[in-house]
């Protein structure tokens, strides 16, 4: 009907008399005409060629197109716009390069192609039916049309089918607001449905304490199945049944124990797989996003913290091609509820009866300064923790140096550690560079629990390049094929001397990689082990000008920065003879070594282990509340941003030490974080280049060889419980549930 009737009413002569005289006039319909209809031109007007906007287009999402052979580029036409693409691209990828985003459910750029959702159908000239663009390879000269009525009708049809059996759960579904189905049905679906029968429902599966499943909402796109088998390496999930009775499940009652299992939550386009701890907590539009860095392990995965007010609601990964692609480990994803428990919020001093009494900052700092002046400089010891940022570590080192003490070191760094040459303690092949390797030798490291993202990268390389992996250490399970070569340093010596068959594999490989675990730093004979590894590297030509395959996989987020700043213990027994111990977040040191009459100051954010021995507690900020520089295991410097305000009366770490230095009359020369960073630039300038990775040019073979006896004890396990490694994860309830249910016994 439209406005024609209204228009005709307006045109009619408006006198009430007409209506009065003849009521039938109300139903008279005047004729409305339009200019095009009046022109008596032949009706067969040519469908004009729609004007094509030939200005350069940016690919979808700001992606960069990589041409492996530039002479092999093909040209196709997307909606009349010519694009150049590399040879193996699919039609969907060609449209992405042209800036046209095609709707899809089952296709994911990092997983294999399934082609079962049919939402990506586009029309291709000279093809009898629309083609699934995700699966069809783009041929030269193809004319692809994405906005024709055929394509639009196909999308509406697919949408209608998908919504037929989909439950009306939007108000109670956690994915509402960020649901692919919602967004695509608004953009591409039709406005009404025609389904009047009963919808089917599916029984829910129990996948563990992390992933909540409502299988009725599943649209059977199989993204989770492909992720689990390809990226995570576990064959847990599969599709059972056929037709409308298809169900995704584990067939046997099995929990998803993989450390990457939380990523299926991001991957699932609908609300079938959601985060169990985050269930019903918040909607995504009320959350504030802060882009920061994760500190639970040394990888430094890029995350986005979603917070509502003063509370962190969830942690979601950010894209970073070089470090963590689009995935994060379960520990990173679910440790946030540890940030709300066991927090220190007031400075406290232990009274003579052994109980803590909350005091204000003035008193606490004056007490600490007083004691610091009463002890001799050699008896002062400082230990920085696993989660400390670079600014606080340099301020601690400066402060203790000014008091005359030389004993400052980072947790986990043993006595003989050589922090001189950077190539001796970072991952020289960057994490992204691991993809080129074709032989791996893992010495005393279990990457699956130490750095889950590095393990995912190694798995990717093993699958694509058929790389060989040799592992020396205690028996653990891997999610890729490997050879267990031995358990102790004896195997290393065998390989170094060429007696072991694996040494041939290393010499024949074009890009061999040796990864030494960070647990080696705790051993007394670390120099001997590194010397053996250097010999293997020399024989296998692992370190060359264009490829440096000698890597160290560090264990904590603060270790790389601590080694960069030179926080190495200078003498063996400084802790046993200390009278004043400053623990900055150090929860994993051996507290028995501290003498009973030593005065211990603990500065940290959680009441973990070291708090019980402390005499004074100074509350500090956690990683989600401060702006701090962290360096990951490959040497890439990144920065955290504060997502939530600090808890109670706590302050930033470096501010506490700067205030303490002023009260103790050894005032440090900087007042602002810019000043601290300027000081950082004079110590380790790579720590100020945020988001940059500085490769270490001078090889670690420059190190002098000390003839040290190699200790024959086999390599130990650095991380016993993947879910509980530092103060935040130990305080987290979700991590406790995971370690109770998901660890392999």
């Amino acid at each position: 009907m439209g406005l024609g009737l209204l228009a005709s009413k307006a045109i009619r002569p408006t006198t009430r008399l007409i209506n009065f005289q003849n009521p039938n006039n109300l139903f008279l319909r005047t004729i409305v005409s339009k200019p095009e209809l009046r022109n008596p031109e032949p009706a067969a007007a040519q469908p004009e060629q729609p004007l094509v906007d030939l200005s350069p287009r940016t690919p979808v999402g700001g992606a960069r197109v990589h041409f492996p052979n530039p002479d092999d580029a093909i040209e196709v036409f997307v909606d009349g716009f010519p694009v150049k693409i590399p040879k193996g691209f699919s039609v969907l990828q060609a449209c992405e390069v042209a800036g046209v985003d095609i709707p899809r459910f089952c296709y994911h750029s990092r997983l294999s192609i399934a082609g079962n959702c049919r939402m990506c159908l586009v029309e291709v000239e000279k093809s009898p039916k629309p083609v699934a663009s995700c699966a069809m390879p783009a041929l030269p000269g193809m004319k692809i049309k994405t906005d024709t009525p055929v394509a639009k009708k196909a999308r509406e049809g697919v949408m209608e089918f998908l919504l037929m059996n989909h439950p009306l759960d939007c108000p109670i579904c956690d994915q509402g607001g960020e649901c692919d189905l919602q967004d695509q049905s608004m953009a591409f679906g039709s406005d009404r449905g025609r389904f009047t029968e009963m919808k089917r429902s599916v029984v829910d599966k129990n996948l563990g304490p992390l992933v909540k499943t409502v299988m009725t909402r599943c649209i059977q796109c199989t993204r989770c199945v492909r992720f689990a088998s390809e990226v995570a390496g576990v064959q847990d999930l599969g599709m059972l049944g056929r037709g409308s009775g298809e169900e995704i499940g584990t067939y046997v009652e099995k929990l998803m124990t993989s450390e990457l299992s939380g990523n299926v939550i991001d991957i699932c386009p609908v609300g079938a797989l959601t985060s169990k701890p985050f269930a019903f907590k918040a909607r995504n539009w009320e959350l504030k996003n802060t882009e920061t860095i994760d500190v639970t392990d040394a990888v430094g995965s890029n995350i986005r913290i979603d917070s509502r007010g003063p509370e962190v609601m969830r942690i979601v990964p950010r894209l970073n091609e070089d470090i963590n692609e689009e995935w994060i480990s379960d520990k990173t994803r679910f440790c946030y509820d540890g940030l709300k428990r066991q927090r220190l919020n007031d400075p406290m001093i232990r009274g003579p009866d052994g109980r803590f009494k909350p005091v204000n900052w003035r008193e606490a700092l004056s007490v600490v300064a007083e004691v610091a002046h009463q002890v001799k400089p050699e008896e002062i010891v400082g230990i920085s923790g696993k989660l400390s940022d670079a600014e606080s570590m340099i301020v601690l080192k400066d402060f203790l140096n000014r008091l005359g003490s030389n004993n400052v070191w980072g947790e986990g760094i043993g006595v003989n550690t050589n922090a001189d040459l950077r190539s001796g303690y970072i991952m020289n092949t960057s994490i992204a560079g691991l993809e080129k390797a074709d032989a791996f030798l893992l010495v005393g490291t279990q990457p699956r629990v130490e750095a889950a993202m590095v393990n995912a990268r190694i798995r990717k390389t093993v699958t694509v390049n058929q790389a060989k992996v040799g592992y020396i250490g205690p028996a653990t399970d891997f999610n890729y094929d490997n050879q267990h070569l031995g358990t102790g340093p004896q195997t290393l010596i065998d390989i170094a001397e060429g007696r072991h068959p694996f040494s041939k594999i290393i010499s024949n490989a074009k890009h061999p990689v040796i990864i030494v675990g960070g647990g080696i730093f705790e051993r007394k004979d670390q120099d001997a082990i590194f010397a053996a590894v250097e010999t293997i590297a020399k024989q296998g030509n692992v370190v060359r000008s264009d490829w440096n395959g000698l890597n160290v996989l560090l264990l904590h987020a603060a270790q790389a920065a601590a080694l960069d700043l030179g926080l190495v213990p200078q003498s063996e027994n400084s802790l046993e003879s200390a009278k004043f111990v400053y623990l900055m977040g150090a929860d994993d040191t051996n507290l028995d070594k501290i003498p009973k009459d030593a005065f211990v100051v603990y500065q940290g954010h959680h009441g973990d282990k070291s708090v019980y021995r402390a005499n004074v507690i100074l509350p500090a900020a956690a990683f989600s509340e401060k702006e701090g520089i962290y360096e990951n295991t490959e040497g890439c410097t990144q920065q955290t941003w504060p997502a939530v305000p600090t808890v109670g009366d706590s302050r930033d770490d470096w501010k506490i030490i700067r205030a303490l230095s002023e009260v103790a009359e050894v005032r440090l020369p900087y007042d602002t974080i810019g000043g601290v960073r300027a000081r950082l630039r004079t110590v380790a300038p790579n720590l100020v280049q945020i988001d940059e990775r500085e490769p270490a040019a001078l090889p670690s073979s420059l190190r002098p060889t000390f003839t040290q006896k190699m200790d024959p004890t086999p390599f130990g396990v650095a991380v016993e419980n993947f879910y509980m490694t530092d103060a935040i994860t130990r305080a987290s309830k979700i991590m406790a549930q995971c370690s109770a249910m998901l660890l392999k016994k």
């Binding site: 305000p645 706590s650 302050r651 700067r658 002023e662 007042d671």
Partner: protein, 133 residues
């Protein structure tokens, strides 16, 4: 007396500085006349004397003695009269009066001088105050 205070209004239309000055004196007179009522209402007999409170009011007025714009003086008088009305009508409580007028500004300065010795830097002052200076 309280009736007079309630009825008093400051018309915002002083023509020149001289008229504004006269209004200030009028305000001061009104305030001093209301002081006995204030002492009675808030029971300040042990804490302060009328002459102490009178000099506090005078010092508050003198704090603004550098202002020359009659309109601004009118506005300040308006605020002052509003404050006076609140005090007389018992809208405030004893601790407000004691803190604002008996101890007053001088007391705060003395406290600061005493405890922190004034030898500390701005950084430390802000640090003790809060994390986000």
């Amino acid at each position: 007396m309280a009736q007079a205070i309630r009825n008093a209004k400051v018309p915002p239309n002083s023509v020149n500085l001289e008229e504004a000055r006269q209004r200030v004196f009028g305000f001061f007179r009104i305030a001093c006349r209301s002081l006995p009522t204030v002492m009675e209402v808030y029971n300040l007999y042990d804490v302060a004397t009328i002459s102490q409170l009178r000099s506090t009011i005078a010092s508050e007025i003198r704090r603004n003695d550098h202002i020359t714009n009659p309109k601004v003086i009118d506005m300040l008088l308006f605020k002052g009269l509003e404050e006076l009305k609140n005090v007389v009508n018992h809208s405030k409580q004893r601790h407000h009066i004691v803190g604002q007028y008996v101890i007053g500004r001088r007391g705060l300065e003395q406290q600061e001088l005493a405890s922190k010795e004034q030898g500390i830097s701005n950084f430390l002052k802000d640090f003790y105050n809060s994390n986000y200076s």
